[in-house]
Amino acid sequence: MVKINQNYKIKMEKITKSFGDFLALDDVTFNLDHGEVHALLGENGAGKSSLMNVLSGIYAPDHGAISIDGKVVKINGPSDARFLGIGMVHQHFRLVKSFNALDNIALTINQTSYYSEKDNLRHKILKKMDEIGFDLDLDSPVGLLSVAEQQRVEILKVLIAGASIIILDEPTAVLTDEESKGLFKIIRFLASSGTSVVLVTHKLKEAKEFSDKISVLRNGKLVDTIIPGKLDDEALIKLIVGEVFAEKPQLSKNFGEEKIVISDLNLHRSNHAIGLTDINFKIREGEIYGIAGVGGNGQAELSTVLMGLTKLNSGSIKLAGYGDITKFRTDQRRKCGLVFIPADRQKYALAGELSVADNYAVAAILRGDLGSWMGVKKLGKQLSTVEAIEEFDIYGVQRLNQNAALLSGGNAQKLVIAREFSSKPSVVIAHSPSRGLDIKAAAFVHRQLLAARDAGAAVLLLSEDLDEIMLLSDTIGVINRGRITAEFASPADRQIIGKAMVN
């Protein structure tokens, strides 16, 4: 355990918070020191965000006390928290996209007059940026800035508001390795100038590398607070998930024929947005072709073009056994054995307001497995859904007619995969299939992709998570500004791939 320090910046004592029957935080005591970077580590749903939402005034705790600088405080809302110097950078940015950075920052500080103070504020922001080494365009709409730049706006928001405690919720979820390094340099600088930083993350590596202390949460309880380096990875993972768990790469043993051949794909988009330029690659049966790249470099375009959701300007897609499928509609491509796991499952893969059973069975209904268009066999629909729920280990389904939107991220993704894999696919297109999932759920997704591959499917895996690409792919292509700029056979060197991603 860490040495006792009476002068903590923040003491959260015996915090309990429940939602209905669900105990999100169970008697959690968390202390934050002056000028330290304190990582809060745990799986999705472990209570990290809940704890920080209590601190930032979004949730009111059922029990427990919070004191800042030794004084007990009451935090009744986000404005109270701000007044006490607590600033939170949410995982989903709270920015007004059509405003520029300056206006977004102006919004958060209580000025009496906006327009006459504008120059003053600009001066203040520029000074702060200079101090911490930020580079940012204050005048373009933030919607046009990169994600990393938008994050800087969020950080500036809390700094200009005078925060002495900064909470960063999964700050690297949307950043590249390079950008993350830059972020941590700034976090380190802020800590050295006395700001206390809470780093909420589920990434073990960054917690170990960049924090002074790590507190691990599991099932709403604070399991332990440790100093990084004192425990090895395996012990730390055991703290997080309660069991030892590590994934190892498993390369494919038998490649078959070339399954899908993509030649000279071109997609032009207006306003200089990144499209696709001269994309060429092929995937064999029993192969996972991983496409690595920073988000927004054409991954979404490539996946939707292959599924026939976006029209191509030129190029061809050939599928073994079917010939040229370039002109096929999406439903025709699905009949050829293509399945799709889109990046945004709530938006594109599930109809949240429809039931779990409807969401699962829609594929079978469209295939005609559950009766004709005149009538769907209700019993068959329910039975097949129950089977899938068991086979794919989907938790949180109380009733079959419960809305799919009520499933947690991991279980929603399991439902999507169960549906897409219900037809023995021959080509799987998966875009960031484990985004936002915890270790266990991600491992489940990975196992499913590997199983599909071993059953002879050609799998295209587009992911912004290089670890995931390295772990699963048999061949790795790098996408950069809409082009495949490099291709490697696994195992490949992480550094070289990383470089190809950003050059």
């Binding site: 965000s49 939170m88 007004v96 919004l107 007059s113 906006y114």
Partner: protein
């Protein structure tokens, strides 16, 4: 030449209610509240204005203020429905229209306000200025509200783009979560925007009876509330374009009686159809430009609820 001067001198009178209405709609919708009830608020304002003139006495300016305030009162109900109860904004807006149609004809019949002509608001006496050739009749032979409307636009422009409340108003229609995180009260902001916005819609209605027709009959606005909604889209929720759109429609509406006056015979129903046909054309033309579709406040029509569970 006389035709042109005559025509143009009528334009401000026709453009003003549109300008007032669109101003109200922009204030309301910039906060993220979709207001399809415009026709209803206009009707309520129109009847209240007439009612004051008939039952209270010849006080046209007071009647206009009451028209605006009754719009706000009705808007308070709408605001309560959509912000606090989070009723679907499309349905709530349509309900306001039907409610207003029924309520105004019931009330005006009971109070015996129907078909009773009154004095109303007359043109402002600007003395020597109105004698100036060409400019005189076009600019200086108008009623007080025409000038006030320009003033309202200036104030609204200052308010929306230069003050911190205006900044919050714009932000709350784009991303209410950002305002919430910044410690602003989303519900209160939206409620205020609805109340102020419906004041101007009521005022536009008051203008129809107190200044233009000088009489109340059922459904006097004749669907102009819907034209106002179309104009908001044309205006891309921006004040300068709103004023332009109002003037264009003023020109069209003013042209029709002028054409008839010089003996240009158009079928009556064709004339009555014109504003709507043109509205349709404006909508089609507006939406041909993708810019206009994306110009709407991002959270327009989306009720705000602080997420309790992520």
């Amino acid at each position: 030449m006389d035709f042109l001067i005559f025509w143009l001198s009528n334009v401000p009178g026709f453009a003003t209610p549109f300008a007032l209405g669109v101003l109200g709609m922009i204030i309301c919708e910039r906060s993220g509240v979709l207001n399809l009830g415009a026709e209803g608020f206009v009707l309520v304002g129109a009847m209240s204005g007439a009612g004051v003139l008939i039952s209270v006495g010849d006080l046209p300016l007071f009647a206009l203020v009451i028209a605006g305030l009754s719009g706000s009162l009705f808007g308070l109900l709408f605001g309560f429905l959509v912000t606090i109860l989070r009723v679907n904004q499309v349905i709530a807006g349509l309900i306001m229209v039907f409610l207003a149609q029924g309520l105004t004809s019931l009330l005006s019949r009971n109070m015996d306000w129907v078909n009773k002509p009154f004095e109303g608001l007359s043109k402002l006496n600007t003395g020597i200025f109105s004698e100036i050739p060409i400019i005189g009749p076009i600019i200086f032979q108008q009623d007080l509200l025409v000038y006030c409307t320009l003033l309202f636009y200036l104030v609204a422009f200052y308010f929306i783009y230069r003050t911190s409340i205006g900044l919050r108003l714009r932000a709350v229609g784009e991303n209410p979560e950002a305002v919430d995180a910044a410690g602003g009260d989303v519900i209160l902001l939206r409620l205020l925007a609805v109340i102020i916005g419906t004041f101007f819609l009521g005022l536009a209605g008051g203008y129809f009876t107190v200044v233009v027709s000088k009489i109340w009959v059922d459904g006097i606005s004749g669907g102009r509330g819907w034209i106002i909604i179309a104009l908001v889209i044309f205006a891309r929720w921006q004040l300068s374009r709103a004023l332009l759109g109002a003037v264009i429609f003023g020109c069209i509406e003013a042209l029709i009686p002028r054409l008839a006056a010089i003996g240009f015979q158009l079928p009556q129903y064709f004339v009555l159809m014109m504003p709507y046909a043109i509205t349709l054309l404006v909508m089609v033309w507006s939406n041909l430009n993708p810019k206009n579709i994306t110009a709407a406040p991002s959270s327009l029509g989306r009720p705000f609820l602080r997420e309790e569970r992520n």
